[in-house]
Structures are given as structure tokens and as C-alpha cells.
Symmetry: C2
Subunit: 393 residues, 2 copies
Amino acid sequence: MQDFIYNIPTKIIFGPERLALLPEEIKAHGNRVLLLYGKNSIKTTGLYDKVVGQLKNHSIVFEELSGVKPNPSIESVRAGIRMMYEHKLDFILAVGGGSVIDCAKAIAAGYHYDGDAWDLVVGKATIQKAVPIGTILTLAATGSEMNGSSVISNEATIEKIGFGSPLLRPVFTFEDPTLTYTVSTYQTAAGSVDIFAHLLENYFSSHDDEGISDRMIEAMMLNVIHYAPIAVATPDNYDARANLMWTSTLALNGLTGFGRSGGDWASHAIEHEVSAYYDITHGAGLAILFPYVLESYLAKDIVDKLPLTKFTQLGRNVFHLEADDDAILAQLTIDALRDFFRSLNMPLQLNEEKVDDTHFRAMADHPVNTTGTLGCYQPLTADDIYTIYKKAL
Amino acid sequence: MQDFIYNIPTKIIFGPERLALLPEEIKAHGNRVLLLYGKNSIKTTGLYDKVVGQLKNHSIVFEELSGVKPNPSIESVRAGIRMMYEHKLDFILAVGGGSVIDCAKAIAAGYHYDGDAWDLVVGKATIQKAVPIGTILTLAATGSEMNGSSVISNEATIEKIGFGSPLLRPVFTFEDPTLTYTVSTYQTAAGSVDIFAHLLENYFSSHDDEGISDRMIEAMMLNVIHYAPIAVATPDNYDARANLMWTSTLALNGLTGFGRSGGDWASHAIEHEVSAYYDITHGAGLAILFPYVLESYLAKDIVDKLPLTKFTQLGRNVFHLEADDDAILAQLTIDALRDFFRSLNMPLQLNEEKVDDTHFRAMADHPVNTTGTLGCYQPLTADDIYTIYKKAL
């Protein structure tokens, strides 16, 4: 087991109709709020009125910035920072899914940085200080609600890049599973794939059994496999929505990474390239690409005569598979993963999402242009990535 | 899934030889330290010198209180509070296992209470404020290092009572698995049973499948079943010690309880009665009593025609058992639990620990004298508890 420091101060207030606690949670950290959200869906569901009602009733000053997009852009970040200064705001309340929360984090960091916030995203500057953030989660997917990570897109440079700092962990998050009842079947499925993909990224960090960390990841995977189909079939099933929401948070708050040497994250980087060029939902992209990445790993493992422990324990412990031969069990495991994604009506090939091969070369070269390879389980070269895109087409 | 608030600010510094971080962690909360420990074992292992060296090198004033016993007494608590006032101390550093940490918590709470600290233990007064506590853990067992719970004994009244408050969570805990290399085979086994028992207490909180909470408990159980025998057989196996240590913390920091309606905790209360009268190690007492409590539950479930979900999923998911009949599977599961405890050389009957039936009536009556029954899975009456003691004799 690797050394680690566990320090997760984010407070989670879980359950329906708990927004009466919002004002005191905000007031513990700030007085003048940037209210950040995406589409108008929070207005149609009534959530907007409830939040604004709480703020007004407790005389909390706020300014609104709406229209944050699914792949939040650096333009929204810059707009948010300008508003923070203009209105002398000292707290950010992000109401939405991972995109809105990610945008809030970039604003929080950029506010205290003299240059352009994009410098922080690409790592040209480090985050020294951040405005406190609180969130009201409306989608079970990214885990952004309890971690310090963020992914921001730059349409001008066609880049989608992840960055982070412990300083960006939200100070509180309200998780009301009933807020996800109105999430579409497609987005529910894509969110579930995203959760599962976060678990896979940490799981495939090494070829060894990682003890308690692996066991907890498997527990969360079993939970997603059980509840995602229920949530897709019956959107207002509370237990399914609640289990997915809490699992989305636990899957990426750090817990599954403690004691192991980071995660793989190659599949995420490979998917981010697709999202940067095409209008594709992140989870759908992962459903397509992750099985192909694993098949690439399996082929390399077999060539390198490495133990297939991660594949076989995933097959046995999560998909309840068995086979005499480890290589066969490993392939059956990848097949079962693909079957699970398909059972949620997720795409399995890029062409299903109208992605063509026009940019494959650039999409394969870009994620390795500074590091040479991608991921840690079986480092992938640009050619490996190109082959993965081709197979996934 | 039940509503909950997750708020676990304890920082965990995990790994060998990380005490260089100790002074800054203390200084974030206090300047004048009560150094609390138990036997002289921390002197023979060299830990004492390392801790004191760090304190002296960074000019941190400290006073020592040693001799905290395995079932920490209210006398030690009172002595600690007196020292805090006498030397104007403002921080408690507990070096040891759960007993030392539990004693620190009672001192921390009692310091800010005008009356006798025992009032806080028995619930005659509530905890309003507490001195900050840091811990250096030397035993994987109680989970006290990351929660707000404490168990204190009163030899005068022959009582051993648990109490707690979120205010009592340690602000930091150092977990160095190598510090547990010198823990005896017996105490390693007893500590592992204690961890497993905490998981069982939460698991048997209801007759339903509790989703992610149950899955995580099962993951931790699988981990204890795998690593406890390794730690018993090879005391300096780092992975085994590390997995047990981190699992002891996760098993009772609140994580396994979120989303469910508390735990059962009848077995713990029943064991506390035994510990109050006899010199028995807590984990050994749990190894004896827990299977008998479960057999009592199973018999009641069958009479009440209740689903045996908790037994059957424990059998299938943790002990990999199968049977056509749920009642048979349930009994096989309890048998497997007993076999696991016995495989660690734990006792399975009270007479193995020189406990006789002299006080059974008082030990059965006391834990229900205010509430009428004990536990929530299948509330136990005094007569039920008496029968359990008799069978376990």
C-alpha cells in the first residue's frame, strides 16, 4: 500500500428538501455570492426559485451567471472572474452537474491569479489560493462535487484539459437525489458510465491486487451495475437515484485512490480529445472508448507475459465470470463491460455519435505531445491511441 | 437510502516515518500538549523518543500522562483534566490504540464541563466544546482515530459505557502500519475481530439490502478476511498491516453508516458488560458473543417469517457460500463467521476466557435498564441477552 494523506473537508448534506440549511452553510464562508448555473432547466424544475428564495430570505447578496455549457469553456470562466471583481463577490454557488462545478473551480482559482485563467488550466501557473465554492448537485456523474479537479475547454485552441488543486474542493455540497428524477434516460446512462469509468481508471493503475482500495472500487462497481439500469428504467426510483448520486461522489473524492499510485486516466484523456472536436457526451464517449483501451492493455499484457490480475479479478468479483484460462477470462470481462454499457443504450462505436476519422491523427498526437505516452497501466503511444480510435470508429 | 450529513474533517497521514509532519499539525491547533499514552511499550519500540524528539526540536511544551489502561477508566480521565488545568494545556496528543484515544476524548470533553466528566459519559450532560485531539495510532482495531466515539469504564460502578460527539473527532491521525509489527498475535487477531464486528454492527441495522453502504461493508469484510490471517502469521507483512490499519479506520469513521439508519450495536453492548466484570480483551469477547447474537436474530427472523436477506447476502458476497434454502444458508454463514474467528485463534466460548455465570443476570439486565431492549435488527430483551450469555458460556 502506498503512503497517502487523507484530507477531505467537503461537507455533504444528503437527502431531499434540505435547502433550508443553505444560508448558514454559505454564511460560514462568504456573504456575496456568484450564483452559477447552466441551462434554464433549474428554472423549469423549480430549483432556481428555491435557491433564490433561500438567498433572499436571508439577505444574501448574489449575482447570476447562467449558460455554462456541458464542456465548460474558458470564456465562461473569464466572464465569471470579471463578475466576481465587478460585484465584489466572495463565494461561488454552483447549481448543476460537473460542468457547472468545474467552471466554478476555474473561476475560484482564476480570481486570485493575475494572468489569464487558462494559464492555470494548462499548468503554466500554479493555484495558490481559491474562492470558496459550494454546490447543489443535479447530476450523478463526475464526482466534481467533492474533489479538487476540473476540466475546462478552449474552443479557440480545440483543447479540453483537466487540472486541479486541493484548494478547489467545494466546502459543501447538497445532494438531493430527487433533483435527478428529471435527468433524461440518455444522460442518466452516460452519467453512470462516467462513474464506472472513474472506478476503472483507478482500478487499472497497476497489475497488482491493491487490497482495500480494489475491494471498495469493486463494491462501487457492483452498485452502479445494480442501480443504473433501475434509474434508466424508472427515473423516479429514489434508491437507485440516491445510490448513483452517492456513488458518483465516493468514486472520485479520493477515497478509491488512497493507498495506490494514482490512476491510469488514459481513457479519459483519449475521450477528451473526441469531446474537444465533436459534440459528444463525455460518458457516451467513455462507453465507446474504454473497452477498446482495455483490449489494447490486454494485448500488451499478453505480449509482455504480465499477470492479468486486474482483468481476472474484475471478471470474477464484479461480473461473476469464470474461465480456466486467464486470457479468456480477461476478454470475457471486457465483453461483459461492453454488454453492460450497451444494456444502458450507450453507443459502442464512434460512428454512432457521428464522429469520423478526420482528426484522428491530431487527436492521437495531442495528448502525448509533452509526455510521450499516456496512462500508467500500459503507457500508450500516439500510434496506440490512433489504433484505438480506428478500432472504435 | 436514509438522509445523512457527511462531515469528516480528520486528516489522516498514512505511511511509515512521517512524524516530521507532527509539529506543524499540532501547531495548527495548539501549543501546549498533554502527551497521553498507555504502557511503556511505546518506549521499548522507540516511538516515544521519536515523538518527544519532534516536540522538543520544535519547542512544543508538553506534559505526560501515561498508564492509560486497555479499558480506560474515568480515573485516568479525571487525572488528565486536572493536568490540563494545572499546566494550562490546550491540545491532547494520544499515542496508542483505541483506549488511549478514547481516554483523550473524554479528557477533551470533560475539560470544558464544569461537573464530573462521568456525567458526559452517562449522558447526564451534553458535550458543548472539546479540546482538539491528535493521535498517533499503534493498533488497528477500534476506529477511534477518525470518529467522535469513546468508551469509558467506571470501576466503582462496574460500568463500561460508550458516548460521543462530532466535536471529539481527532483533528489529525498518523497511521504508520510498521508501528503494529510488534502487536502480539493475540491482539492482532482481537483487533481484526473488532474491525469485523464494527462492520457487522452496521450491516445488521436492517433486513434490507442497503445498496452502496452494504457493498462497502462487504468490501471491507473481504479485506479483513484476506489480511488478518496474513498479519497473524507474518507480523511484519506491510501490506497486511496497512490494509488492516486503514480498514479499521474506514470501518468506523462514519462512511459505512451513511445512508442507513444507524447500526445495531447490541453485540458491543453485550460484550461491554463482560469487559466491565472480567479482564477480557474486547475483540475476544466479540468473537465469542457475536455469532450467538446472530443465531438469536436468525431464530427470531424465522419465527417472524422475515426475509433473511442480511444473512444470505453476507453468506454469498463475503463467505462465498450457497444453499437452496435461505435458513440453511444463514446458519452456514454464522458457522463460517465462527470458523473465521477460530482460524485467528480467538476463543468461541466465555469459559475459554475464564468468564463464569456469576453475574449473567446483572449483565443481562443492565444494558436494557433504561431502554427496555437492546439493538435495532431484532430488539433483545434482558431474557434474550441472558440466554445468549448462557449459550456462549
